[in-house]
Amino acid sequence: MKSHSRRDFMKVVTSYLLGVTGVLGIAGVARFLAFESAPRPQTAFDLGPASDFPLNSRTRLNSIPALLIRKESGYVALSLLCTHLGCTVEDAPEGFICPCHGSRYDAQGAVQRGPAADPLRHLGVEIMADGRLTLYTA
């Protein structure tokens, strides 16, 4: 029977340790390479077929947040972020009210009461070739 020296044993142990270390190291490198940074905030939103928004409709798009208005002349979109500090405005009888500091806007987004100084921002809306609407926030 072949006898194993202490040196052989240490060689096996070393090989095993280095092997496990190598596997772990490769896993770490793989994880590093696979890292995906947080995506940039979305600035283009597919709203679906333009025909889904009937004439004279006002559709609140809470996830953006924006208001899409369909007029005779086309589509208009208003940002629903208050121009004071950026809270989402709520619907009010005469237009919009900011729940944070009370700014009021009329139905077209013009300031009726401060502290906001600027009107609600108009956003870009585009009818794509396939008839779907895309709204741009930037």
């Binding site: 190291g25 770490g28 989402t88 944070c100 502290p115």
Partner: protein, 416 residues
Amino acid sequence: MRSFQLALGAAVLLASLLVAATTQMIKPRPVVLIPTLSQQPEYCLTCHGDLPNISAAHPVKTFGCVVCHGGERLALDEDLAHSTMRGGANPSDFAVVEQSCGGSQCHSGSAADRRDHIQRAMTSVQSTYAGAIANILYTFGAQPDLTARYGVSAVVDEVVNTSTGVAALKPFDAASFANPFIQQFGRNCTSCHINAQPSDEDAYTRFTGCAACHSPLANEDSTARDTATHVLTTAIPYTQCNKCHNRGNYDLRTMTFVPRSDHPVDRLHAYYQPIAQFVKCEYTLDCIDCHTRTEAMGDGDIHSSKKEIQYIRCKTCHGTLTDLSTTMTLTDSNNVEFRLAQLNPVVELNIGDRVLATEKGEALWNTRVLPDGSYELVGKATGERFKIRPVKGSGCTQNPDEQASQYCHECHAVER
């Protein structure tokens, strides 16, 4: 020997890798918030997702945490994340308030748009402690009159608007005065203002800075230690004012503060010190129902005494024998009273509403002239409605020249 060293090296290498991997594994998965205001991702909600919005005016979705609190927004290690926070748990501490709460769109705007909160609060007597210091220095002969010369820290007011306003205060250094009473005052009494940490006793529990008033502590039982809350409010209950006021008395012989020894269990006894005189509305209403934001937070000038900035009197609401109280009609929805009513919606204000007004022309927005001509006040902290009875037409026998509260107390003081 060499093979043993190699094995040991490999073991150390593997152990290091395992430690690094474990550290990575136990890190929480970040909860990302991109506030509308900053548009910069922050991970604070990974650990603090259970905190409620601090107020309706500061929703976390809009503000996030970092814009007010500072801190390392992308750190997941507790110590690192908190290492650069402003003011510890209280970003409204006056040492850092300008970075935390300032800005022209927030709380250090112009006096014209009534957004100069920070400038006013930092020059107010609640912050400077100038009145108490001037009183002590005058009493012990260290200055010839009661005009303030010192504050707890240096403060300058570049634009003095009132006849009693002072342009600047030097920092008060009690040790520079020879009088032992003044030195004792400096040692024992100069933590009694809102930009000093209170003493570590239950009776003193409060935050510093804006939060001293606007972040009511959770426990209203004055005998127990209060706990911090993540709240900012303008509906400040009297219990919060009592964190500083009505706590006890000053002993001028030893120049120490002596906390009251009684443990009041009801509002009537909690409100005032045992020997004080007061009328029903003073213990039924909350302090802020009568005292205005200008009285509490200052008018932007440095004053020598709270008397120079305290102007609400009984007659402000009740009038006199010959005159009803002053009223005004709200005509401009951009005025500050609409903002205040929006922040604390205990009343719904509308253009054309008639409300009572102070002698300085401020609208007391929580009052209302009712259609029958009578007056009503709504509690800012409670929403409770109170009828205001005018002196005119009553059986009151007051001397028209005696309008200070002590004259009203002569007949209307409540007995305990």
